[in-house]
């Protein structure tokens, strides 16, 4: 073989091996953190092994993202395959989502109040992060079903272990149990009778609808949404954020529905319209919440639904917008949730019925809350502004009502965030209130999250270019092109 001709192949192999190795480290590093926390037991603060393992996971995820961006940009498929899915499926979507999973988990670990930094809590968080990362590196139907179910367990355990959390844990189990059964059966039917095949039968169509309903349940889409804010109210903030921000169901929707849009057109239409209603309804509910956890929960409900509304739109620009909302809402709502958690750890539960006067206690946390709030509601200079612009611009051609509903959702979210800010921080301060300034372990992750949100908002070009590449490969003709495989995988 001509050595010059072999060079690009070797480069590709090297980059594919690097991608696979980075994905493996990003996925399994949290498990090392669990081992570290368990071995150290009470002798060591579990935040330490958890933090280091998640920092390793984040570094690996960023390496994967960088390698994918600077490499050939093809999919990497490894391991057994079934019904168009592969056990290991690395592409642009993975490159975007793995860093999100890692950074959210790392921020939660660092900001978690001291009393929440237990071995059990750290174990559940790390297990959840590892399972979520694994979910986002596969497209194999069986693996998706297994990881879908397994990634529910840490949240359920955390909610159940919280005082007064059992009723919500029951609701969670009920909804997620129903969703999991539908997902398993639906994925099975789609694997047996793919609805995108030339001679698709009714079984595949039924499977498509079952997966759609399962996604709606897990995403909290109207009419299956009530559990979503309830988890934020009853579960520890760490569990609620870790369970909802990476958006496992959106990933499933991309792999099983959006990636095969021709075969599931009706399902995607229902999904996008229901998601739009949820985005507006969730934002409207956020305006009248009585406590800060309800506010964070309803805002998350609205923002995560907006992701699905864009994903199901079927146009590359909408898909780009949805991916951008995915990242921006994940980071900004994690920030809001963590600030709220930090405040609660100082002053107890925060009601929104009347001004609580917390500005004097925590002016820097007030600034962070406001900046994260602005970053979540489409404020110019933030990633959410770019995301909303893409969704609205993408929908102008064939569904202008999408743009108008996104505007309504953004307006309500804005009112809810600013109302929440004034109710938490405004009003007379209590003379004997605790005076705790922001801690260094809180300031660092919150600043990092803000830097990403504003950095990508002020200089969005390269990031949007990556999103476009992902959207095009998910929707465009390249979807049908044979994926680039490396030796050793098993077709």
């Amino acid at each position: 073989m001509n050595p010059l001709a072999a060079e690009p192949i070797l480069d590709a192999l090297t980059s594919h091996r690097l991608l696979a190795a980075a994905a493996a480290v990003a996925t399994f590093a949290p498990l090392a953190g669990i081992a570290g926390a368990q071995l150290a037991g009470a002798r060591l603060n579990p935040r330490l092994p958890a933090g280091w393992s998640l920092a390793t996971s984040l570094a690996a995820a960023l390496t994967l993202a960088w390698t994918w961006r600077s490499g050939p940009g093809h999919e990497v498929l490894l391991g057994p395959r079934l019904a168009g899915g592969s056990l290991v499926h690395l592409d642009g979507l993975t490159a975007i989502l793995l860093p999100l999973v890692a950074i959210v988990a790392l921020a939660i670990t660092l900001v978690a109040p001291r009393r929440a930094a237990t071995v059990g809590g750290a174990t559940r968080l790390l297990a959840g992060a590892s399972l979520t990362a694994a979910f986002m590196t596969t497209s194999h139907p069986a693996a998706l079903v297994l990881l879908w179910v397994a990634s529910l367990v840490p949240t359920w355990l955390s909610t159940r272990a919280t005082p007064g959390g059992r009723p919500t844990a029951r609701v969670y189990a009920l909804m997620m149990g129903a969703g999991s059964v539908l997902f398993a059966v639906g994925v099975g039917l789609m694997a047996v009778d793919p609805p995108w095949a030339d001679h698709a039968g009714p079984a595949g169509a039924a499977g498509g609808w079952m997966v759609t309903v399962a996604v709606m349940i897990r995403k909290g889409i109207v009419p299956f949404h009530s559990w979503y804010p309830a988890v934020f109210t009853a579960a520890p903030m760490s569990a609620a954020l870790a369970a909802t921000m990476p958006q496992v169901a959106s990933y499933a929707a991309v792999r099983l529905l959006v990636g095969h849009a021709d075969g599931v057109r009706a399902e995607l239409v229902v999904l996008s319209q229901a998601a739009l209603i949820t985005a507006a309804y969730g934002a409207a509910l956020a305006v009248v919440q009585r406590d800060v956890r309800g506010l964070v929960g309803t805002l998350a409900l609205s923002q995560s639904a907006m992701v699905l509304a864009g994903l199901s739109g079927g146009l590359p620009m909408e898909l780009c917008g949805a991916l951008a909302v995915w990242v921006s809402s994940g980071l900004s709502l994690t920030g809001i949730g963590l600030v709220a958690w930090a405040l609660e750890s100082r002053a107890g539960a925060l009601a929104l019925d009347s001004p609580q006067g917390r500005f004097t206690d925590a002016p820097t946390l007030a600034a962070f809350f406001l900046l994260f709030g602005l970053a979540s509601l489409g404020f110019p200079g933030t990633l959410s502004f770019v995301a909303d612009d893409l969704i609205v611009a993408g929908s102008l051609g064939d569904q202008p009502h999408v743009g108008l509903l996104v505007i309504v959702a953004t307006v309500f979210s804005g009112i809810a965030v600013v109302r929440g800010w004034f109710r938490i921080f405004g009003g007379p301060s209590t003379p004997d209130a605790p005076r705790h300034q922001i801690l260094r372990r809180e300031r660092l992750p919150l600043s990092l999250l803000l830097a990403v949100l504003f950095g990508l908002g002020l200089w969005p070009g390269p990031f949007v270019q990556s999103l476009e590449q992902v959207a095009t490969s998910l929707l465009g003709p390249s979807r049908n092109a044979p994926a680039h495989s490396v030796p050793g995988d098993h077709p």
Binding site: A169, P355, G381, L396, I415
Partner: protein, 460 residues
């Protein structure tokens, strides 16, 4: 010849960019250290803001001189592409013309003066740095709004003005009334912002771009509209809706008198001068759309005149000076919008600038009103007259009493808006939120939430 033109364009571009970059640099220079717990001293703060606004003001003055000498040609400055997906490209464009250059000159000048005043006025006030960060954000946003070359950039400036205005109304955050007033202002802004966002969507849909160069043809004030007539009407109506909130027009005027809860310097520059006229500026910039949609123009005349009468009547019974000045601002803002609705362009611009200068001076002097009155009394040898309007004396006594009652209740505007707009929406949302809580409680087998709800209802 070409190189001379290019160098002229580079000079104009440099000047325009300076007017945006200087306040932006000030904002970052103050904001980032404050966020990491290293807030600068009072002296450093005021000097940084003075340098930022001063530089912008000098650049604006040079732009004005150059522009006036050349007859204000339209200079479009392309700052770059924010991002590009498919056929959709988000560009950052600024425009310098006969509207934006005089306006930015006066806005940066006022910001510089208010900065000088506020440095002394807020000396040793908790939140000193916060005030100047918000003032820098406002100055940056205002300049962006004024120099915007597209509706997207204008929206970015519009939002900066809105959030800085809200936070400055609630500056004295320990006062419940200040917090309530700030929230009221923000809700009004946000609802009316829907108009601007939707107008942007409609304009993009119609011409495929939000750049003013593709929406309008020709130089201000003689520009013409390139948006098809069928689309121009809804776009113009949406822009009018957006302007009503920022310019405190009926039925969205209730926030303005309450906004005087903020510090006097910010009241002067926001509600006496710049923020209150942001709506007027938007409509002046998009004047060709109003020309293409006469219905929107007549609606604007009706609302503007209605607001002017309402504010004149209500303002005449105000018992505090800042409240009276707020209604006086509202009266003039209404008249200015009516002038724009009539199709005038230069007259409202002159009216805006002259009114803004007078009103901000009055508001800045308002804390010294008693002192001024004592001096006046001493000079006159007795108290000055009450100055009741002779027009009022011409009205029948019964009508005077009725008007007095209406004025005391602020024209029943707040009551009607609260009863017919806010209350039904809030009641529906609260009912929905309660339904969600009860549903989760029932599904989870817990009666606590349901019982609590019934208890609350019983207590109510």
């Amino acid at each position: 010849m070409i190189s001379a033109l290019a160098s002229r364009h580079d000079l104009a571009a440099g000047l325009i960019v300076t007017q945006i970059a200087a306040p932006a640099a000030t904002l970052l220079g103050l904001g980032l250290p404050a966020l990491v717990g290293r807030a600068p001293s009072e002296q450093a703060t005021t000097r940084a803001v003075a340098a930022g606004f001063g530089l912008a003001f000098v650049a604006a003055l040079v732009s004005l001189a150059v522009g006036a000498a050349r007859g204000f040609p339209v200079e479009v400055v392309h700052l770059g592409t924010l991002f590009s997906v498919g056929h959709h490209t988000a560009t950052i464009e600024l425009v310098a013309d006969g509207l934006s250059i005089p306006y930015v000159c006066f806005s940066t000048g006022l910001c510089s003066l208010v900065n000088a005043f506020a440095g002394r006025y807020l000396h040793r006030e908790p939140g000193f740095t916060r005030f100047f960060i918000l003032l820098a954000l406002f100055g940056f946003g205002m300049n962006l709004l004024v120099l915007a070359g597209s509706i997207d950039v204008l929206f970015a400036g519009w939002e900066c003005v809105g959030i800085s205005s809200t936070l400055l109304i609630g500056f004295f955050h320990e006062r419940r009334t200040a917090v309530a007033a700030a929230l009221r202002a923000f809700i009004t802004y946000r609802i009316c912002d829907m108009g601007l966002l939707a107008a942007g969507v409609v304009i993009h849909h119609a011409v495929g771009s939000g750049d003013f160069g593709r929406v309008f043809a020709g130089a201000w004030p003689a520009a013409t509209c390139l948006v098809p007539a069928a689309t121009a009407v809804p776009a113009a109506l949406l822009l009018v809706f957006a302007a009503l909130g920022k310019s405190a027009q009926v039925p969205f005027s209730g926030w303005l008198p309450r906004a005087m809860e903020g510090p006097t310097p910010s009241s002067a520059i926001f509600y006496g001068a710049l923020s209150i006229h942001a709506g007027a500026y938007l409509l002046l910039r998009c004047g060709p759309l109003l020309d293409a949609a006469p219905a929107a123009g007549w609606l604007l005349v009706a609302i503007g005149l209605g607001t002017a009468i309402h504010a004149a009547v209500v303002g005449s019974v105000q018992t505090d000076l800042k409240g009276m000045l707020a209604y006086a601002s509202m009266t003039q803002a209404g008249l200015i919008l009516a002038e724009i609705g009539l199709g005038w362009r230069v007259v409202p611009l002159v009216h805006v600038i002259s009114h803004a200068i007078l009103r901000s001076l009055q508001i800045l002097r308002s804390p010294s009103a008693l002192h001024d009155r004592h001096e006046l009394s001493a000079a006159l040898g007795g108290p000055p007259g009450q100055g009741e309007s002779p027009l009022v004396r011409l009205l029948p006594a019964g009508l005077q009493a009725t008007l007095y009652r209406i004025a005391l209740d602020r024209g029943f505007e707040d009551a009607w808006v609260g009863r017919f707009l806010v209350a039904p929406v809030v009641a529906s949302l609260e009912a929905a939120a309660e339904f969600e809580r009860r549903l989760v409680a029932r599904l989870g087998g817990s009666q606590d939430v349901a019982n609590e709800w019934h208890r609350d209802r019983g207590a109510a």
